[in-house]
Amino acid sequence: MNIREWDKKISKKEKNRKSFGPVFVVYILLAFIILFTYSSLNLKNIDYGYKMQELISKTKVLNEEIDKLKAVRANLLNLDRVEKIVTQKLRYQHPKPEQFIKVFEE
């Protein structure tokens, strides 16, 4: 092998070494982008998971509140209570038999 041939071989190797650098960087960059996208998506999923659980527990609490309000409403509509208010507070009276009027439809 003469010096010229030797030189040629060396410059080819150096050329190969020089072109490997940017490719490597591109690969790393790509891997980083994939990793970042995957993890950010996953992080979002985790975040949604927390939000979902929070909403589920809120629904539960709200349903319990609805039940409590239903009970309160039923309490307020208690006929005994309503009658007491009507007769004692508002001083209404039960109608006498002659006070009933039926309108007959022709």
């Binding site: 527990s57 039923a74 309490n75 208690n78 005994d80 009933f100």
Partner: protein
């Protein structure tokens, strides 16, 4: 020169690269070895530790179903409440805290003493009060915020049964115990449906104890909602009227049942005294009993309707047939039967209209034991009505072989047979419904599914029904039930006054009753009223009949059953 220099650089680069790669290689190897150790060899140990830290299994208590009336008004509902407990780590601290707590919540003296003893004994877990009221919970918030007591007292969430209508329909709805187990009424009868099924859930938390996932190991099944056939409003004024009459008559108790004549559905069922289901554990057992289905009594003259139906259905008598009524005193073997008002002669119709015991005994003798026994059985006596309520009594109807020679005479006017109010209304409804023996229905639907448990058996002929219905209408128009009369509406009914047995003898204590239906020609409502031991008056026509009337008047308006007009085109209810 150029060749030599280039070779030198390459060699040093290679060496450096080798060192770096070797270093990272070893580092990676160590990590891999550690990871294998953690994830393969010690896998179970660390998984268990992680689970213990982040996964917790909770028992889920099912929510008890809600009980509604037919229009969807709530009669019983479960709501979440807090139960207070004490972790007794330091006796002195616990005692000091309990002194503060008892001022904030209502506790009986007995309960206070009990808690005091438990603290002294050194029990770790002590219930202070289960199912606190909203007010009590708010009052305790200051103590709970105190740093010293934060870990000493805590709450457990539990469901509490609430009855917003309080005593309304208490005997039908029933009540539950402290652990929400059904104790009486529908709460007991349909407990397996209402209670639901508990479950287990695995709660996954992160390092900050935030829940990020729930895994159901066993999904809880909530209790089913029950819709009754009861109408809240009807039940209310029935209870009000019943309570008024029991009080004015100074009676021991009473019961009223209102039924839809066509379908046999119960619109109202009241038993006095009432009770508050939220205090069921403190209520006397006799008060909790639903008298409408468990009160056993001799029906007296109301039973003459069964007698008349049997005589007409078997073609043994005809309405105008005349009977000698022996001027109010009739001897049969060693016994004597009396009439309240003496009659020399009465027609078959009049025997029922004026409620002659002697006449009834004579009709009974004409029918004969076997036929009369079969009729009584056909009308559902001696057996449970099948209503979906606990504690129903079946009454007593002795078998034929146990009947004495005077039994038929006594059974004819409602003695020697023990009935319940539900049996009586069911038998009266045979006439109102067009000859059908209908099973009384109290459950309309369960979780939206219509109740199909309906039984209907034809036991009477239409011509017999019309004749009995006309006789019963006369009972109200001109007979013993005159106090039931409402202008413009034909009511068919029968009064009853029966002596009660005390100490194996009939005493001068009475059960007054009235059963009937209206409008007589096209019955919509069948009703039965029983007043137990009235003290001021005792005849069914004086005690039960006016109560029937007052309820009927309200029902007519509420259900929009309008009276027929007279010639003047005027009618007043």
């Amino acid at each position: 020169m150029t060749i030599k220099g280039t070779l030198k650089i390459n060699k040093s680069e290679r060496n450096r690269t080798f060192i770096v790669f070797t270093f990272f290689g070893i580092w990676m190897l160590i990590i891999v070895v550690f990871l294998i150790k953690l994830q393969v060899f010690n896998y179970e140990k660390y998984t268990a530790r992680i689970k213990a830290q982040s996964n917790r299994i909770f028992k889920l208590h099912p929510k008890r179903g809600t009980i509604y009336d037919v229009h969807g008004e709530i009669l019983a509902i479960s709501v979440k409440t807090k139960s207070l407990f004490l972790s007794n780590k330091n006796k002195d601290q616990s005692l000091a805290l309990f002194k503060q707590l008892k001022k904030k919540i209502s506790l009986t003296y007995k309960k206070q003493r009990d808690i005091f003893k438990r603290i002294k004994k050194g029990r770790n877990f002590i219930w202070i009060k289960r199912k606190l009221s909203e007010r009590e919970f708010l009052r305790l918030s200051k103590i709970k915020k105190n740093k010293d007591y934060k870990s000493v007292i805590d709450y457990i969430e539990e469901y509490k049964r609430v009855y917003p209508q309080r005593q309304l329909a208490s005997h039908i709805v029933g009540g539950v115990g402290i652990d929400e187990q059904g104790l009486s009424g529908i709460e007991y009868e349909l407990n397996s449906d209402i209670i639901g099924k508990g479950g287990k859930v695995e709660v996954l938390t992160d390092a900050k104890h935030r829940v990020f996932d729930l895994k159901y190991i066993d999904k809880p099944i909530p209790g089913k909602d029950i819709y009754l056939t009861i109408d809240n409003s009807v039940q209310y004024f029935v209870e009000k009227e019943l309570s008024r009459v029991v009080k004015t008559q100074n009676a021991k108790g009473g019961t009223v049942i209102v039924m839809n004549s066509e379908t046999g559905t119960i619109l109202a069922m009241a038993s006095y005294p009432f009770f508050n289901p939220e205090r069921i554990s403190k209520t006397n057992k006799n008060v909790i009993k639903n008298k409408a289905i468990s009160f056993r009594y001799d029906p007296g003259s109301t039973f003459k309707v069964i007698l008349a139906a049997s005589a007409l259905e078997n073609d043994i008598c005809y309405p105008q047939q005349v009977f000698n009524c022996y001027n109010g005193v009739y001897k049969i073997r060693d016994r004597t039967i009396y009439d309240v008002h003496p009659y020399a002669k009465l027609s078959f119709e009049d025997i029922i209209i004026y409620s002659s015991n002697i006449g009834a005994a004579l009709i009974g003798q004409k029918i004969g034991k076997r036929k009369y026994y079969n009729s009584i059985k056909e009308f559902g006596f001696g057996a449970k009505s099948g209503i979906k309520l606990p504690g129903e009594e079946k009454g007593t109807l002795h078998p034929l072989k146990k009947w004495s020679s005077v039994s038929i005479a006594y059974l004819s006017h409602g003695y020697e047979v023990i009935v319940t109010p539900i049996q009586m209304i069911r038998s009266f409804n045979v006439i109102a419904s067009g000859g059908y023996l209908i099973k009384p229905v109290i459950i309309d639907r369960i979780s939206g599914i219509q109740n199909i448990d309906k039984e209907k058996v034809k036991i009477m002929d239409r011509s017999t029904l019309q004749r009995i219905s006309s006789i019963m209408t006369d009972v109200v128009n001109i007979g013993t039930g005159k106090k039931t009369k409402i202008a413009g509406i034909d009511i068919a009914g029968k009064t009853g006054t029966a002596k009660k047995v005390k100490g194996k003898k009939y005493r001068k204590i009475y059960v007054s009753s009235f059963g009937g239906f209206f409008p007589a020609k096209n019955p919509k409502i069948t009703m039965f009223v029983v007043i137990d031991e009235p003290k001021n008056q005792f005849y069914g026509g004086d005690v039960a009949a006016p109560l029937f009337k007052s309820i009927a008047e309200k029902l007519l308006i509420y259900l929009r059953i309008f009276p027929e007009l007279d010639e003047k085109n005027e009618v007043r209810i």
